[in-house]
Amino acid sequence: MTQTAIRALFLLLVPLAGLAALWAQSETLSRQGTDWEVPIQGYDPRDLLRGHYVEFNYDWPTPSDEREDEEGFGVFVQHQNLCLIGDAPTIVEAIPFEDATDPEFERCKHKLSVQPGSVYGYDSLNRGRLYVGQERALELEEGLRDREQIGIVTFRQRDDGVLTPLDIRFRPLTDEGQEERDALRSEEAVIVDAADAAIEAANEEADAPETDPSEEE
């Protein structure tokens, strides 16, 4: 090869064709798959906006015994694999599987699996992010804070189990959802009241010994 050919190869062809190929690959991959919708919650209400993306938690419609322990308290599950059941875009149920080689999971038509190599690693079925412009991000942040509505993420599920968020929209809470939220709020209120009472009691106890000696004198 001549000097010019080598230079053309490494100065023009390799960098430009390489990046163009990566672009084409991203484009093709982004077109594959089925679009679904899933409700989300803001990941951290104080810090939703991180640079140019919005971060959130997925609220998968998993079977109720997977979401609560025996006493009815919510439990945190780090999902490894999910089988989506329903007609796209509506997920009727998302069934978690520990093991991707589970024959039942392998038979599943619409699979999602954690991507250990992605930004969220083994948490990538619990958390996600959507890159948006600054204005849109502020809008979404506001929307996610509003307790009268819930955020719905549209995502694309590829056959190899990869999940790619596409968009976020908002839906007003249904009556059922409102009840659930109010119940949650009253639960929170009970807990806060109990905590306040405990603090008060502790303060009184702490005050007590101080007053005692003076009374003795």
């Binding site: 100065l11 960098p15 163009a20 672009w23 991959l29 890159y131 790619t164």
Partner: protein, 387 residues
């Protein structure tokens, strides 16, 4: 130099009228209208920033594909200019080409982030970094002129290696026999040092010796920095608890091997005095890596190892005549001596008398180092041949 000064010298009888005239003509021909350039620069900067803001403000309304196309077109323009106009650009100013290559490399790197933003994808940092290094490394090596591109190559290689190892290190604890993966990770960490022999080879055979000299210097610096860190870490006993990791016995042996091989190759392909000494320093850094493990936890031995490395560097600098390197070596040894005195007698600091004593010790070492530098430092820095 201003014309006013020349007039004063003439008036004082220091220079005659001919010299004055010659000086004034020379100054006029070679003066750079700095103020004018500054105004042009500020104007260009304002326009550039304005363009960036206009684009940024309307970013959201531009479809992703169009944005990516613009990004790729800008990159193509920069690379095209480098490819088709290299000779003219260098003739105008070597820095123009250097800056253009650096801009192209940066545009290439940011393209990965841009792709991730448009397609909502993400991957661990080492992946885009290593693909970028593969796509743009050859272009940088083919066109680099100075320390800027040399720094991008070396910095990119080191950053990629570190990212790769830190994000995959967990693998070592998941396999039954971590020997092979450890050796592999250590090879990745040590690989940037191999730029030294490559650069040494091209340094005497290329039309861009400055670039290759800088690259060799950076690779040598990386090796010496690694060895110094290892020797410093040994004094706080970092290594005895490390079995399955890159700084375990296997990893350190591999790193030492890379240092020795790279150093030997540098001496082989550049058999001048400076080449042989640079090779010896890199090989010495490799040996230090290995020894650091065996002195781990023994404060005195660890300090001696550190000083031995730098005494070697100082001796090499003295032989070749690298003034800056020699002074750096003396300073490194002096600082290590001071730290050693505190390590060995940390309770000195607890009494007033001890404090006074340590003050005198520090002053003594500093004065000694200064005297050594003054007395023995090579006369002038041979800029063209510095390690």
């Amino acid at each position: 130099m201003s014309a006013r000064k020349i007039e004063i010298w003439h008036a004082a009888g220091l220079i005659d009228a001919d010299t004055r005239a010659a000086l004034l003509t020379y100054e006029e021909e070679n003066s750079r209208p700095l103020a004018l350039w500054a105004v042009f620069g500020i104007g260009a900067l304002a326009i550039g920033l304005g363009l960036v803001s206009v684009v940024a403000a309307n970013w959201e309304d531009v479809p992703g594909q169009v944005r990516l196309a613009i990004h790729l077109a800008l990159l193509g323009g920069a690379l095209g200019a480098v490819f088709f106009k290299e000779r003219q650009l260098v003739a105008a100013s070597p820095w123009l080409l250097e800056a253009l290559v650096a801009i192209a490399a940066t545009l290439g790197l940011t393209f990965f982030g841009h792709l991730g933003q448009v397609y909502q994808t993400g991957s661990p940092l080492w992946m885009p970094l290593s693909v970028w290094l593969g796509l743009f490394g050859p272009a940088l090596l083919l066109t680099g002129r100075s320390w800027l591109t040399a720094g991008i190559v070396m910095g990119g290689a080191i950053y990629t290696a570190m990212e790769y190892v830190t994000s995959n290190e967990a693998l070592l604890y998941a396999v039954d026999d971590p020997t092979l993966p450890t050796a592999w990770f250590a090879t990745v960490v040590g690989a940037p040092v191999l730029f030294a022999p490559i650069a040494a080879f091209f340094r005497t055979r290329s039309t861009r010796p400055d670039f290759w000299r800088r690259l060799e210097q950076l690779a040598l610096t990386y090796a010496v920095f690694g060895a110094s860190s290892a020797a410093a870490a040994a004094s706080v006993d970092v290594f005895s608890n490390e079995e399955t990791s890159v700084i375990g016995p296997v990893g350190l042996s591999v790193l030492a091997g890379i240092g020795v091989v790279a150093g030997g190759l540098v001496a082989l392909v550049r058999p001048t005095l400076s080449g042989r000494m640079a090779g010896a320093i890199i090989a010495g850094a490799g040996v230090t890596m290995l020894l650091a493990r065996s002195v781990s936890g023994v404060e005195l031995a660890a300090a001696l190892l550190f000083m031995l490395l730098w005494i070697g560097i100082g001796a090499a600098a003295l032989k070749v005549g690298w003034r800056g390197v020699f002074q750096l070596a003396v300073a490194a040894i002096a600082v290590r001596l001071i730290i050693l005195s505190f390590e060995l007698a940390s309770d000195l600091l607890l009494s007033g008398f001890g404090l006074i004593l340590s003050g005198f010790l520090i002053l003594g070492i500093a004065w000694g180092a200064y005297r050594v530098s003054q007395q023995f430092a090579p006369g002038s820095d041979e800029e063209g041949d510095e390690a």
